[in-house]
């Protein structure tokens, strides 16, 4: 019998499929398509201490097989989330992964403390947002900062912590190791690649924020390479994402070393993508006689078979 369930981060997940932070709101808007409980977990939009309005002007452009976004962490603030969104989310019977973004190390600690008292299931440290001026990418490119933040949040919470890494770095393995060494239970990769687009008629950058984060199928080869490299060098599980739309994409990431996968831009391309991926994974495992997802994780590293 094929069993998609997987134990990760001391949690029992129905399946290895989640949604990527920022593409699914707080779980309520996709309910018209399918019940959130079918997902392995829900990952929320990035949350900050205070409410944020996000960036001005155009926030999205479509590019070849990808999109650039520059939302800039618009969110109602952690307290509103805990009071207004979390109870509803938890009542759906889904595991809730909460993505947090601090402007300072202290803010990360504060965010961790506030979540510790709630029933969220996992904390994802967003050390990689390319669309904010403070924190975000500035932290994510520094192995030292990544280590420090991981360690300090680790001290204020017993919940599993996953560190979300940026691909905009020379050496993602070094940063991944630093997170692992400082107590991360897992890693999420990748966040978006920094990019931009120019309107040749107005002759100006299209996005209000000039820069945006590139996501979608275009970046899949880059994401896959990073998952593959990081898997070779760490022992903690990886949540892989970046351009996953079909179950075939998901299988590639699992074979590269992801224990779990996230669907981001894929939700826009097909609102049912996560559900179709779950069904497709089952079919694939049937054909290749895998019983558990764990048997597939990292298989691309083994010798020719």
């Amino acid at each position: 019998m094929i069993d998609l369930s997987i134990e990760l981060f001391q949690l029992k997940l129905k399946n290895p499929v989640t949604v990527a932070s920022g593409t699914y709101g707080f779980g309520e808007v996709y309910e018209k398509f399918y019940h959130p409980k079918f997902l392995g977990a829900i990952t929320t939009k990035g949350l900050t201490l205070e409410k944020r309005e996000g960036n001005k002007g155009v926030r999205c452009v479509e590019t070849a097989s990808g999109i650039l976004n520059s939302v800039g962490l618009q969110n109602p603030g952690i307290d509103v989330f805990i009071k207004e969104h979390l109870p509803n989310l938890k009542s759906k019977g889904a595991l809730v992964f909460v993505n947090i973004a601090g402007k300072t190390v202290e803010e990360f600690i504060e965010l961790g403390e506030r979540l510790e008292k709630t029933d969220v299931d996992l904390i994802e440290l967003n050390l990689s947002c390319p669309n904010v001026k403070e924190g975000g990418l500035a932290f994510g490119i520094s192995p030292k900062k990544v280590g420090e933040i991981t360690k300090k949040v680790r001290m204020v919470t017993k919940k599993p912590i996953v560190v979300k890494l940026s691909p905009n770095v020379t050496n993602i393995v070094e940063i991944a190791k630093e997170a692992e060494f400082n107590g991360a239970d897992g890693l999420t990769l990748i966040n978006t690649l920094q990019g931009m687009a120019i309107d040749i008629d107005s002759k100006r950058p299209i996005l209000g924020n000039i820069y945006g984060g590139l996501s979608g199928p275009a970046i899949k080869p880059v994401a896959l390479r990073m998952v593959y490299d990081v898997y070779k060098n760490v022992k903690i599980p990886i949540i892989g994402m970046g351009g996953i739309v079909t179950y075939q994409d998901a299988v590639e990431f699992i074979l590269a070393g992801a224990s779990m996968i996230g669907v981001g831009t894929g939700n826009f391309i097909d609102p049912f993508a996560p559900i179709k991926i779950i069904e497709g994974l089952k079919k694939y495992m049937e054909i290749y006689r895998f019983n558990k997802v764990e048997e597939m994780v990292g298989l691309a590293h083994s010798e020719r078979r």
Binding site: Y30, R59, C60, Q74
Partner: protein
């Protein structure tokens, strides 16, 4: 929420505006002003398009070709399939307007979401539909829709014409849609006159369902999602750029 549509007809109304009628494998119970996401296999994001008419089993759209997505849609022919998701967004308020004198003001392709209002009973209704290009207008649009169309006069656009009428005539409620600059001008006029109304605005979208926050517009209550909290907003809600 997600459907397959079969193209029943595609009529070019001008060189770059066409009317598309599809039959849906189901029935879309829509409110006037709502839109659907039409998927274009040559693009990764769907294209938001207002429902311009139809009973829900049949749907009509009025589409202007401006880029690759709409070009794909313009290439559809009778019998082709198109994937869609909807209805999406908030529609116009049409409850309790039976005793109101309304104006419906549309600019260019912005008339699309306003067209189904032609089926609503108002105490009195006046249409102000303006088009830049001649060909765009009267002959073809009016042929297809049961409308009296007020055309752009030289040098004056539809907002100017409406503003002039406002000097000697009054309205209880105004529905409008069109380019940003028109929305801004008209909203200012209505605010000054104290006339209520609703407008439908646009923003570049990704998810179309409220999940990604790329489609926000500034409002008096902070940023709101055009796809979910709009595209219809009350007069005075949206804060337009300078």
């Amino acid at each position: 929420m997600d459907y397959k549509g079969k193209v029943i007809s595609k009529v070019m109304l001008t060189s770059n505006v066409f009317q598309l009628t599809i039959k849906v494998n189901g029935k879309i119970d829509y409110k006037i002003g709502q839109f659907v996401n039409l998927y274009c296999p040559n693009k990764i994001l769907p294209r938001p398009i207002s429902i311009a008419g139809g009973d829900g089993e049949y749907l009509t759209f009025l589409i202007k070709i401006v880029g690759e997505g709409t070009r794909y849609l313009g290439g559809l022919a009778r019998g082709d399939e198109v994937k869609l998701v909807g209805p999406l967004g908030k529609g116009f308020t049409v409850e309790g307007t039976g005793n109101k004198k309304v104006a419906i003001v549309g600019g260019g392709i912005g008339i699309a979401p306003l067209l189904p209002l032609t089926g609503v009973k108002f105490k009195e209704v006046k249409y102000y539909f303006g088009f830049k290009e001649k060909a765009y207008a009267l002959e073809n649009i009016a042929k297809e829709y049961p409308l009296t169309v007020t055309l752009d006069k030289d040098g004056q656009n539809i907002v100017d014409i409406f503003a002039k009428d406002l000097e000697r005539e009054s309205f209880d409620f105004v529905y409008f849609c069109g380019p940003q600059i028109m929305l801004k001008k008209l909203q200012n006029i209505l605010l000054k006159k104290g006339i209520k109304g609703e407008l439908s605005t646009e923003a570049k979208m990704a998810c179309g369902v409220g999940g990604c926050l790329v489609c926000t517009c500034a409002t008096v209550d902070g940023y709101k999602r055009v796809c979910k909290d709009g595209p219809v907003f009350s007069v005075g809600e949206v804060v337009f750029d300078d």
